[in-house]
């Protein structure tokens, strides 16, 4: 199974591609709402992309209160 760091790295790459921002601009502890300039609905859109990539289902509530990539990676990792 992949490590949380690998999961995190994949999330950052996917977020960069999805929202068309340079990958190097994103770091683990970024507030993704601010860095990506997105609202909570766009964050949910990202969650769907991540589900497809990791082949998991994440209930919406898993994203509640999460605003940085590192915590998001932990939530995803726990379901891999």
């Amino acid at each position: 199974m992949q490590t949380t760091d690998q999961t995190l790295d994949q999330i950052l790459s996917l977020a960069a591609t999805h929202f068309k921002v340079p990958r190097e601009k994103l770091t683990a502890d970024d507030d993704f709402f601010k860095t990506l300039g997105i609202d909570s609905l766009q964050a949910l859109d990202l969650l769907t992309r991540l589900e497809q990539h990791f082949r998991i289902e994440l209930p919406d509530y898993e994203l509640q209160g999460v605003s940085d990539f590192r915590t998001l990676a932990q939530r995803i990792q726990s379901r891999l």
């Binding site: 909570s40 609905l41 769907t48 919406d60 209160g65």
Partner: protein
């Protein structure tokens, strides 16, 4: 629809509805593309009956309070109906609050019963304040096998056989206690009677009727005043159907319009904008020729619908757009916060009427609503039938504070006579919003007198509620304000909170302080965060008990600082 004048309580009206349309579908619940529940009114009654009996057995009495903390789903409505059937008072809590906030409001409301979804219950049991839980009986839905319930019961097993006894209530009895704010500051629990809801429901359905076959997509939280009325009470007393989605991802919401051929949906401005963004992106992908055609058709539709919506005609002119919304959509209802008129106009020009209104929890649901005769994107509509709206102390432009008098106004704030006296003055609800009537009787809003913001997601954020996150910040003192309160503007939107900081003598603002501020700000839910800070050079005025005199401080800041001095964080 039912003649609501005949009924004294929500329980009585809902019970009559279940008997009136036994074979109509009342609820559909879907998760992603999977339909999980489909109930007729008769099925709904059968689901509720054993729960009502079990509540009776648990000594749930008339006037007892029961809180619900759940996302939108069938068990929310079944539980709420059962509470009303047994004569109880419903306390719908916002599921998006944190567990400590839930515990605080549960204690304030003195709810004896709590009905909650498992993942929310798990968070509550893990909160340090869990020991202070005041609810006596807790019912938890969808508990995984083997999970520790911490003394709660499984909702699905909390059932008894037999016929429950309906408990009648009077019109003036309390139906709900709905919190409009106050998890950090004083809780504002709006006490709303059965009369308030039934009158409001009659007024709203007079303008926007439901009927059997109508499908309402319920995506605003049901605990919110709008969805509770338009996504539960309204459709049920008319025999219509409510569609719940367990996953509110934009793509699944878009699918649901088509899959369930939705008739009405209520949205907050943020969701409306998201839909607009999606449509515009699709339009931009069209070839120049198709785009040219589309623009001509939109222009034609705009011309033909100037006086009133002509949805059938619009569907023929712009079939692809309407198909994307299922083809049966009659109106998008938008409320809860300021909505950009350009966004509303965008949809109206496509032949999708947008109904914008104005309301507040203190007034049950809505105060004014657009009747689309004709469509106006620049107003929040006309007062609903039975609602008197006044503009108090108008200035030279006719703008003053909006005040409301109707049977739907709350009776008081729970256990807070002081706030009640400030808010309801001689029978008139002081809204704190600034408005003016135009020549056609439409209300237009121009900013707010209150120190608060309303986010695009429809959340009311009061500075007092979020200030404590900055406790211990290494400065002499600080205070949070709504920027539009410090510097009133005659428009709504672009609302932000500002952290006003007074440094210690000889203290320099440095990167460490900025980082600390940013880190603390991020502990708040994203929609509650402050947008910037303002360095203030004078000590804050304080009362004898050392409380900050917010009003005086605001006056000082207003007099000698400007909005341009806010530094974004």
């Amino acid at each position: 629809m039912l003649d609501l004048q005949k009924y004294a309580s929500l329980g009585a009206a809902l019970s009559a509805a279940l008997d009136r349309w036994p074979n109509e579908t009342c609820l559909i619940e879907a998760d992603r593309d999977r339909e999980k529940v489909r109930l007729t009114y008769s099925d709904f009654k059968e689901m509720a009956r054993p729960l009502c009996r079990a509540l009776e057995d648990a000594d749930f009495k008339a006037g007892d309070r029961a809180a619900i903390i759940m996302t939108n789903q069938s068990k929310w409505l079944i539980s709420a109906y059962s509470i009303f059937f047994c004569g109880g008072v419903l306390v719908p809590l916002d599921y998006k609050l944190t567990a400590p906030e839930h515990l605080q409001l549960l204690a304030h409301s003195k709810a004896r019963f709590l009905i909650v979804e498992y993942y929310l219950w798990r968070a509550i049991t893990q909160a340090p304040e869990f020991a202070k839980l005041t609810a006596e009986i807790v019912l938890v839905t969808e508990v995984p096998a083997g999970a520790d319930l911490r003394g709660a019961y499984r909702w699905e097993e909390f059932r008894r056989k037999g016929d429950p006894q309906f408990v009648p209530r009077l019109r003036e009895d309390t139906a709900c206690i709905v919190y409009s704010s106050g998890t950090g500051g004083p809780p504002k629990g709006c006490v709303l009677t059965h009369d308030a809801y039934l009158e409001q429901c009659a007024a709203l359905t007079a303008w926007y009727p439901f009927w059997p076959g109508v499908r309402y997509l319920s995506i605003l939280p049901t605990n919110h005043a709008i969805d509770f009325m338009v996504g539960f009470i309204g459709p049920f007393v008319c025999g219509a159907c409510v569609v719940h989605l367990r996953t509110l991802r934009p793509e699944f919401v878009r699918d649901a319009f088509v899959r369930y051929r939705i008739t009405y949906v209520s949205l907050v401005p943020m969701v409306l904008k998201n839909l607009e963004r999606g449509l515009r992106a699709k339009f931009d992908e069209l070839s120049p020729k198709k785009r040219w055609m589309l623009d001509r058709l939109i222009a034609l539709n705009k011309m033909l619908t100037r006086g009133r919506p002509r949805v059938k005609l619009s569907r023929r002119l712009l079939p692809q757009v309407h198909k994307a919304f299922g083809g049966d959509l009659l109106a998008l209802i938008v409320g809860g916060a300021f909505t950009d008129p350009a966004t509303m106009q965008f949809f109206y020009d496509l032949g999708i009427p947008v109904t914008c209104g104005y309301g507040l929890t203190e007034a049950c649901t809505a105060v004014t609503l657009n009747d689309l005769k004709p469509f106006r994107a620049d107003t929040v509509g006309k007062p609903l039938p039975g609602t008197d709206v006044r503009v108090l102390n108008p200035d030279e432009d006719g703008i003053g504070e909006v005040a409301v008098n109707s049977r739907s106004v709350m009776s008081h704030y729970l256990d807070d006579p002081e706030q009640t006296a400030q808010t309801i003055v001689e029978g008139w609800l002081r809204t704190g919003d600034q408005g003016r009537f135009d020549g056609n009787g439409h209300l237009q809003l121009f900013g707010r007198k209150k120190n608060m913001i309303v986010t695009e997601g429809g959340k009311n954020i009061y500075p007092e509620d979020i200030e404590s996150v900055f406790d211990g910040l290494a400065v002499k003192e600080y205070c949070v304000f709504a920027a539009n309160y410090l510097w009133p503007q005659k428009t709504l939107g672009n609302e932000t909170l500002v952290l006003v900081i007074r440094l210690e003598p000889n203290q320099q603002f440095d990167e460490g302080l900025r980082e600390e501020m940013v880190a603390r700000n991020r502990r708040l839910a994203d929609f509650k965060r402050v947008g910037g800070y303002l360095l203030w050079e004078k000590d804050f005025p304080r009362t004898a008990s050392m409380k900050i005199k917010r009003g005086d401080l605001a006056d000082e800041i207003r007099a000698s600082a400007s909005r341009a001095q806010i530094v974004e964080i």
